[in-house]
């Protein structure tokens, strides 16, 4: 998936870069929306990666038991 193309580290680095630019006050208001959108996307991507959507425990444990 395209989502996986960016690593956590790269995502965090990009978020931090954008944050720094905003904090420096150097960001054009025109770019602000785009950048906030991008940060939000990256955050969502990271969170999605972090949280599992399906429970895999049982799968593993069951598979384990079958062996």
């Amino acid at each position: 998936m395209a989502k996986n193309e960016i690593s956590y580290k790269a995502a965090v680095t990009e978020i931090e870069e954008i944050l720094e630019a905003i904090e420096d006050g150097n960001m054009d208001v025109d770019e602000l929306t785009v950048n906030v959108k991008r940060v939000t996307e990256l955050l969502k991507l990271c969170k999605d990666k972090l949280h599992k959507t399906e429970k895999e425990v049982n799968k593993i444990l069951e598979a384990d038991q079958e062996e």
């Binding site: 944050l19 895999e56 593993i60 384990d64």
Partner: protein
């Protein structure tokens, strides 16, 4: 048949009696365990050896037995002290009765064991391994790897059925934060002589898919506390240290760390601790994300507020600037008007002063001119008087000097001084040459004349 011929039984009996005589009391013996075996009735049978210090060649060998009633006491004593089982390869100091049985031969009956000897030996071995690993330069190699902030893809080396493994999986996958982990088990024997080879082979399997994993977890749960010797092995430590993925250990010890723990990237006490550690990393990362989100929110709000203030400021600046600029311009025009008024005034003043100065200049010029002219006329007048008088004086002097000259020359004046003039026939005589006797001579004097006749001529 010779008289000294004995039956084997007799001989063994004889050896037995000699041996018993020779070793009446138990002896403390140092040896290495070559093999060890506990039978069903709980007796422990060992094969003890001694190796030469130089070439590791076996130079002595003996059987030894710990009877079950003793073994039940000695084994826990040994294991709790050394945290190691009695197993092949370790050195022991045992108290042994030397016994010779006619049927079973020589055997050492172990009645006591000194665990501190083995402990020292194990410690020394451990130190040697560390020294070797340090010399190899691998001690810190795995620690130097960077553990990803979010180690989600995990290879686990564990015994499949171990309780520790179950606990580990459970606490990892049922974490209350719903974090997701991808776990792959690489089963291995985690204790005993086979453990070292089994774990290394599991590592080798993982190595083939190295890029799929963020971390390798080595856990051993539930087994005996005295079962950790395999984790002090040089080979296993070398494999862990050089492994290209961070290795996290949770071997389940309570006191000393094994060498595997020392060379691993991170070492934790129990499998559950490892699971908590991993979940904790995730929590920290999730916190970081929340923090970043808040920071973005704050910064964006801040930037917008700041810009809003800036724009409001500019708007108010504009109004102020315009007002002050117009006022300034008005003042400038008033100043110009003032300059015009005073300028036109002073312009006229200047010009009229100039004209006044002309009147004065005429007066001065006239005064100096007329003075000059008067002075010149006076000088001419003086010259007139002086030169006229001088001319008259000069003429007087001239006439006076002529008069003097004439007086000196006048014959009448000469005669007055006693001179006289003589005439003959009206002619004044200047020489006696032409004078003849008898000539009538008239002599004129200053006063009167004398008439005389020449009688003698003295020429």
């Amino acid at each position: 048949m010779a008289s000294d011929t004995l039956t084997l039984y007799d001989l063994n009996k004889k050896i037995q009696s000699v041996t018993t005589k020779a070793f009446p009391d138990p002896l403390w013996v140092m040896a290495e365990i070559l093999e060890i075996q506990v039978n069903r009735s709980g007796h422990c049978y060992m094969e003890l050896i001694e190796k030469s210090g130089t070439d590791e060649k076996i130079i002595a060998r003996s059987r030894a037995t710990i009877w079950s009633y003793k073994y039940r006491i000695l084994r826990p004593y040994f294991e709790t002290t050394t945290r190691s089982q009695l197993h092949a390869g370790i050195k022991v100091l045992v108290k042994a009765e030397v016994s010779f049985h006619e049927l079973y031969g020589l055997s050492l009956n172990i009645t006591d064991i000194d665990p501190s000897f083995t402990l020292g030996d194990l410690e020394m071995k451990k130190r040697e391994v560390i020294k070797k690993l340090t010399a190899d330069g691998v001690m810190e190699m795995n620690k130097e790897l960077i553990l990803p902030e979010v180690p989600q893809n995990i290879a686990v080396i564990s015994a499949k059925t171990a309780a520790g493994y179950g606990d580990f999986i459970d606490s990892l996958l049922n974490n209350s934060y719903n974090f997701r982990f991808n776990i792959t088990l690489y089963p291995a024997i985690m204790q005993g002589d086979a453990a070292e080879r089994s774990i290394i082979s599991a590592l080798e399997s993982i190595f083939k898919k190295e890029e799929m994993y963020d971390a390798v977890i080595v856990i051993r749960g539930g087994g005996s506390q005295a079962d950790l010797e395999c984790f002090n092995s040089y080979n296993l430590a070398l494999n862990i240290a050089q492994f290209p993925v961070p290795v996290i250990t949770g071997i389940g010890h309570e006191r000393d760390e094994t060498i595997a723990d020392l060379v691993a990237h991170t070492s934790l006490k129990t499998p559950t601790a490892v699971a908590e550690f991993l979940v904790d990393l995730m929590v920290r990362f999730a916190d970081l994300l929340n923090h970043l989100r808040e920071a973005i929110n704050k910064s964006a709000t801040w930037i917008l507020q700041r810009q809003e203030l800036l724009i409001a400021q500019k708007a108010s600046d504009l109004s102020h600037l315009i007002k002050s600029s117009l006022t300034q311009e008005e003042h400038a025009l008033e100043t110009l008007y003032g300059r015009l008024k005073s300028g036109a005034g002073t312009g006229n003043m200047k010009v009229s002063n100039h004209l006044k100065s002309y009147s004065q200049r005429i007066k001065y010029a006239w005064n100096s001119f007329s003075k000059q002219q008067e002075f010149e006329l006076a000088a001419l007048n003086k010259r007139k008087t002086r030169s006229t008088r001088e001319m008259i004086m000069q003429q007087k002097r001239h006439l006076g000097s002529i008069e003097k000259n004439i007086e000196l020359t006048d014959p009448a004046k000469v005669l007055e001084r006693g001179y006289s003039i003589s005439y003959i026939d009206g002619e004044a005589i200047k020489s006696a040459k032409n004078v003849k006797n008898g000539d009538k001579l008239l002599t004129k004097l200053s006063k009167g004349e004398i008439h005389s006749i020449i009688t003698k001529n003295g020429k």
